[in-house]
Amino acid sequence: MSAVLSPAPPAADRAAAAGGARAVLALARFEARKLLSSAPVVLAFVVYIGWIGWRTRQSFAGYPALQDADRSTQAGPLLVGMAVLLSANLAVLRSRRHGTEDQFAVLVVPRGRRTAAHVLALLPVVLLTAGCVTGQFTWEALKPGAIGHGSPAELLAGPLTVLLFGAVGVLLARLLPVPSAAPLLSVCFLFVFVLGAFSFQGEGTRWLAPVVSEASTTPLPSDLIGRPAAWHALYLAGAALCVAFLAVLVSGARGLTVKAGVALTLALAVTGAVAQAGGDSPALTAARERATVTPEKEQTCVERAGSRYCAFPEWVPRTAQWATVVDRVRSLTGPAAHDRQLLVRQRIDARYGPAADSAIPPATRRDQVTVGTAWGGNRVPEFSTAVAAVLVAGSEAASDTMCDGRMVTVMWLSLSWQDDPVDALRRVRLDDSVSGAAIVLSPTDPLTMTEGQTDVVRRLLQRPLAGVAAKVRAHWAELTSPKVTTARVAELLGVAGPGKADSCA
């Protein structure tokens, strides 16, 4: 038996290769320092970090669903990416622009390795972006109202976009070595990816964009989101590395490692691109259908003060906040409603994915209140209104058609206990007004207030809470009887009535 052994590379070759690798790293460190201190990158980071601070302070009204918060980290890095594209491009073109090509061409580190150093120099800025993304997400996660789970793959999209854009800047400099190319490409990217001038239609093509944010006002449970985030991260990583290897290849480094790198990373990018375009699986579609049509099968319920709160598992910690609202509203009602056992059920329409914003029909079951998946801000008075409407009218479906003086009681119950009742009135109305007729938002179908009802509610909200509450308790039966007029309600509660009769038309 014989064995064929390939000869080991000579020691001199190994030493030269090691020296070359060290030189590439040293050059990458130098270029990274230059890149991080370049004006576009510094400016982009100042704006980006400022944007994070400004946005995250008030984002999600303080109650983020982390499965949405992870996506919200993806837009900011686009700005950094464009700055990196510009600066990396200029760094590669530096020798050509300032006539040092001839000098550097006869130095030991060849052009291909210099290009590799430019690519490696992108890593610190990518890591810094990752740090910003992590900081932004951690900020959201540390908010007391945070629920849910973020996806590491979603969090990777921003840094990988920066890497991709930087690598494109390096490749562009090698393919089209003119300083105007990168600014022009940046403008194109700005229009395509940021301003959305070109719409990526279809499941296959829209995921080719580096950032597919799919902003939604209705967070879905993590397992119903169905975004191919991991495949997209693979696609981005493959594309960025493929572009980087291509840049090294076109710079003259035609070694086997580089060619294999191009082939492998291209395969990764294609695999990611194909897999991410697969669309929703039948299992996901079925799960979304179940969560929409029969949420009770998916939810966890807890009892609080005689009422039952059913939520998708990630939202269970939030039931305490819902219960606070229910308790506050119920405490103002008459004795008949005091002991009513409400069922507060979280309902969503998940059938059209995370970007859809479908209306939820009112529940027909008596004493059932719908709550959405978003919370904080205007969602609180909206839920409060739904609770009050069910306590007054019996059910969401019944309150939907309410066009009488009960609306005054509903709105007073909903708003009077809040920190700034008149401001809450403004926020719960679609047109942000505190006078005239308006639509009142709720988790399901909206309610309507006439001009007269608005006037009476506003007058009541300006009165001391305890005094009005006593009258509400005293006249609860009449205040909640169908067909009671707004004028009569005003009279019972001791404020001036409306100028004209109710009209919901």
């Binding site: 070759d13 030269a16 020296g19 050059l27 300032h98 000098q103 006869v106």
Partner: protein, 286 residues
């Protein structure tokens, strides 16, 4: 003494133009001057020796390394310092950063040792005080010294300088000569120049090129000796002279074959250079 650089039959054509034609060369430590008119092939020879362009034919070695192979070329580059005719600079870099950058490209990878070396060469060229200043704020002479520092960093055994004193004022030129003379101590320097006084003051050896070939290879004294007895003064330009020009005293200095009884003058290296070129044009208008 073993030559640092040894070239044999080096030829390079640009289309039909013979830029280099069978150049033979042996360079040893010390400063060797390379004289020649424009288009003589000086810069082409330097670029070939600096491995910037390959020769069509012939071969050369630098410290025993043959640049025709990739590994040999890398080895040549490891021992090379090259200052091109019009060096470029990155104006936003400081002098230190620029030389440091070149040092990295020469594979000086140990950061501390590299920075020590960069400081050393900047001190050597007299820029230690301004090493933190951006290149855009340096004078032309200072920039040229930055380029020399970049060529010197890493202590190369073979230094190629292509007309480094062009555009410098006399004081800067003198300073540069000092630097080149110091650089030539213990290493091989090939200095291309139009300035015969540079060669006279600095070089242990001189090559004269014309038409892509080496026309003279010897010491400056030998080049000067070529003109001994072939330089004379006259009140009118001698029509038989190969070159002649009016001097500051109003008399004519003639170079060529003097007539009988001519008032012979002391020959200079420039006279020898002109005679080597033998009327190939050296701007010697009457």
């Amino acid at each position: 003494m073993n030559p640092t650089v040894s070239a044999s039959g080096l030829s390079l054509h640009y289309g039909r133009t013979r830029a280099l034609d069978e150049v033979e060369l042996r360079l040893t430590p010390g400063v060797t001057g390379l004289l020649g008119p424009n288009g003589a092939g000086k810069t082409t020879l330097l670029r070939v020796l600096a491995t910037a362009v390959p020769a069509d034919r012939g071969s050369f070695t630098v410290l025993g390394h043959d640049p025709r192979t990739a590994r040999g070329r890398q080895e040549v580059r490891r021992h090379l310092g090259y200052l091109p005719q019009t060096p470029g600079f990155h104006p936003g870099f400081t002098a230190f950063e620029f030389v440091d950058y070149v040092a990295i490209l020469k594979e000086l990878t140990d950061r501390r040792a590299r920075h020590r070396e960069v400081r050393r060469v900047l001190e050597e060229v007299g820029l230690g005080e301004v090493r933190g200043r951006r290149i855009r704020k340096l004078s032309g002479g200072m920039r040229q010294r930055v380029a020399l520092a970049a060529a010197l960093v890493g202590d190369p055994g073979f230094l190629v300088l292509d007309e480094p004193t062009v555009g410098l004022d006399p004081e800067q030129r003198m300073r540069f000569r000092e630097l080149i003379a110091r650089a030539g101590e213990g290493r091989t320097v090939l200095l291309s120049t139009h300035q015969t006084e540079d060669v006279a003051m600095l070089c242990r050896r001189v090559l004269v090129m014309a038409g892509g070939t080496v026309r003279f290879d010897g010491t400056p004294a030998e080049l000067t000796a070529r003109a001994a007895g072939r330089v004379w003064s006259s009140t009118e330009r001698d029509p038989g002279a190969k070159a002649g020009w009016r001097t500051g005293t109003g008399t004519f200095r003639n170079v060529g074959d003097p007539p009988a009884g001519a008032d012979l003058a002391e020959a200079t290296l420039e006279d020898g250079y002109l005679l080597v070129l033998d009327g190939m044009g050296a701007g010697v208008a009457a």
